[in-house]
Amino acid sequence: MSTFSGQTASSPDGNASSNGTPAASGAVDHGRDGHKPLQDTSVGKAAAGPVKWLDDRVGMAGLVRKNLRKVFPDHWSFMLGEIALWSFVVLLLSGVFLTLWFKPSMTEVVYTGSYAPLNGLEMSEAYASTLDITFEVRGGLLMRQIHHWSAMLFAISITVHMLRIFFTGAYRKPRELNWLVGVGLFLLALVNGFSGYSLPDDLLSGTGLRFVDGLIRSIPVVGLYLEFFIFGGEYPGELIIPRLFTVHVLLVPGLLVALITLHMLLLVYQKHTQWPGPGRTENNVVGYPMMPVYAAKAGGFFFVVFGVTALMGALVQINPIWKYGPYNPAEVTAGSQPDIYVGWVEGAVRIMPAWESQFFGLTWSWNVFIPAVLLLGSLFAVLAFYPFVEQWVTKDRREHHLLERPRNAPVRTGLGVGGIVFYGLLLIAGGNDIIATQFQLDIYAITWFMRIAVFAGPVIAFMVTKRICIGLQRTDRERVLHGYETGIIMRSPDGSYSERHAPLTPVQAYELTTQDRVAPAALPATTDANGVAAPHRGRSRLHSRASRFFGSDVIDKPTAQELEEAHAHGPDGDGAHALPPGDEEFTGVSETGIPKPH
């Protein structure tokens, strides 16, 4: 049953005065004693003029009315996306600071700053200006480090937020579009991260740029031409840093702002999802209002994110470019890795076998193209298409505003964990030389292990996770039917042992039965009554197999009848005294298993 928001015919009746809108000052209070309406305070009186001036021109009261007390549900996992949002704001603020001193130029200059070991050395202006920000500008090193830490947190929090959305099924209709926007934001975050850390033109990021040069070269057919176009000639040329600067401060941030705005607008229009529970349905949102609670919590969280990032910038060193030295294509450092958010690509490139073939008169560098380009593209394609694939498999076209517990979708959760294991193994492979030296292992052995593990690991993780989810579902079902285990063992007169169960509260029991009932997957008929073969037989067979796989072994919640039977038989099935269903004030059981009076 859906209702329309906004005025309904019956609303301004006797309910109006009892609704609590303070029509006359002092008429009703919501437990806030001595509440003086805002328009009567000194601030309100002073602001009344300008506010009216504005509203006369833009008519914003309608928007304010609808959105100022907008309800947001309360759960810690809903704040992960906010970490990304606030990190982006920190990036903008610290980034603008840096642009005031940074020179995006590869012109060679001689360094004459205060960092002695590099004094008198030839380097690009980009590197020299970054050294100046670090050593000459007060607060410059702090801002550089805040910028880099918040870039890491931006990419990492997007990943964690995306996983939360995935595991709770929040990407289902009507939010598929927002999921796609999010995948786009994820990609842009990685691009901006790479372009950003390449700007100082130090040895470490220059080595990374060389890798990207080889990557571009490996693109089939046009690789060399693309390389010369992007670098403006032979590597490294003089144009790549200024071009990356434009990408990093103008093009990608512009796209990011546009997409983040779209992301937020969709969230406001469709309202946030919520966990199922007492009083929460597909048709409402239960939580706290934007003003003042969420304004305070979200606004406060911005300061927390900024504060944590600033503290990291003060206490933990990141990207000490003065130690790496200026970029020199004949120099390299051991332990050359990109930033961690693209570390998985690095891992894939390290474990890839040396495949290169020649046909049609061209060279095809699979050893670089597959892990660096194809893998990256495939991951984003899989992410982008997943909601639509799942919808095709489950044929579920309803709107979903209630989240699903991960255990209630074992295959989805298993796929997600398999994906995490794949990503994690590649990430570790990307740091294989650090792991080799720190843990005294053979680097070749790590590479070989990873070559096999990145295929076997996700499969094993999928199977294990799915079984764990099904086990948890079974536990939930048992708890609903028979109550929770009290740990008190009873011995019956005929010598058998059983454990005393105590019933759950109605709230607890309800929370365990809010998932959808498992719909049986019907096998489509391959021929109709007259023996005519159904069209798209292959596709529908594939679909039925996929659908059965997706819903396989899922434990359904108990029906009302099963619940009655369970309660009638008593928790131990032996006709023993059935404990009455508890109520909200359930205070536990005594030593003999009898519920305590309240």
Binding site: V308, M312, L315, G335, Q337, D442
Partner: protein, 272 residues
């Protein structure tokens, strides 16, 4: 004197003359011949002391005369030390790498077994086995604070050393479980000797190509980055983006997830 000339036709007179000539020649030679390395009595004693120490602690693997011991397969149990020079011994024994405690992928640095005079003796003995690199003079192993030298040293360091030892000298991985060790705390003398003699898998950087001045520049640079403060805060081991990424996930994301959980949880209620 008449007795000598009356016996000039004695049958043994020829033999006596030859004997006298030999003694004269031998005496002249012993006075005028150049001294071989360590030929005087003080260094002789040192070489002998070194030989005694060698026989006890080194000969099992390196042979009784430092000629090396081969395994059945034909590779080295302990390599020949003829020609490795005093510098190699000073480095290997002075950093505790030798004597080797157990056979592993490479000889690790460990607590030094011999005292400095003993090491000097061992070095002198091995040097006497054949000419090889000598222990460098302090002129080239004491780190200088000259800025231009440090800058030059940094250039050499980044071109020749960082590929194995990393930008701050924290070390790096090599094939088959071997590694380039950390050089953050190495003394100038051992750094010089390592470059000169190429211990283990480390290549040689001869004095003709990388001159003693160049080596001093590198040593000065290593000392300067060692003494330098970590301007930005805790350096996380100087291992680069891997540890930085781990810190971002664990410290940064960890703190913020803790904050999220705190924000999202209901506080204390007035009654249970």
């Amino acid at each position: 004197m008449r007795s000598l000339s009356t016996r000039r036709r004695h049958p043994l007179a020829g033999a006596v003359v030859v004997l006298l000539g030999l003694c004269l020649l031998g005496g002249l030679y012993s006075v005028f011949a150049p001294r071989p390395a360590g030929a005087d009595s003080a260094t002789d004693a040192l070489v002998e002391e070194g030989r005694q120490l060698f026989l006890v602690g080194c000969a099992t693997c390196h042979g009784l005369n430092g000629e090396g011991v081969l395994t059945d397969r034909g590779d080295n149990y302990g390599p020949a030390l003829v020609g490795v020079g005093a510098a190699a011994v000073d480095f290997q024994v002075g950093t505790g790498r030798m004597p080797l405690a157990q056979n592993s992928v490479q000889a690790p640095e460990k607590p030094v077994v011999y005292s400095p005079p003993e090491i000097e003796a061992l070095a002198a003995y091995v040097a006497s086995l054949g000419p090889g690199p000598a222990i460098p003079s302090e002129e080239y192993t004491t780190a200088s604070t000259d800025e231009e030298l440090i800058r030059l040293g940094g250039e050499f360091f980044r071109t020749n050393c960082t590929a194995c030892h990393n930008s701050v000298g924290a070390g790096g991985a090599l094939p088959d479980g071997r590694y380039a060790p950390s050089i953050e705390d190495v003394s100038g003398r051992y750094a010089y000797e390592a470059m000169l003699t190429g211990p283990g898998q480390m290549p040689v950087f001869s004095d003709d190509v990388m001159t003693p001045e160049d080596k001093l520049a590198i040593i000065s640079y290593i000392a300067s980055i060692r003494d330098e403060p970590d301007y930005g805060g805790n350096p996380l081991g100087g291992l680069g983006p891997v540890t930085e990424g781990a810190a971002a996930w664990i410290i940064g994301m960890g703190a913020l997830v803790v904050a999220s959980v705190w924000i999202g949880t209901q506080g204390v209620r007035a009654k249970k």
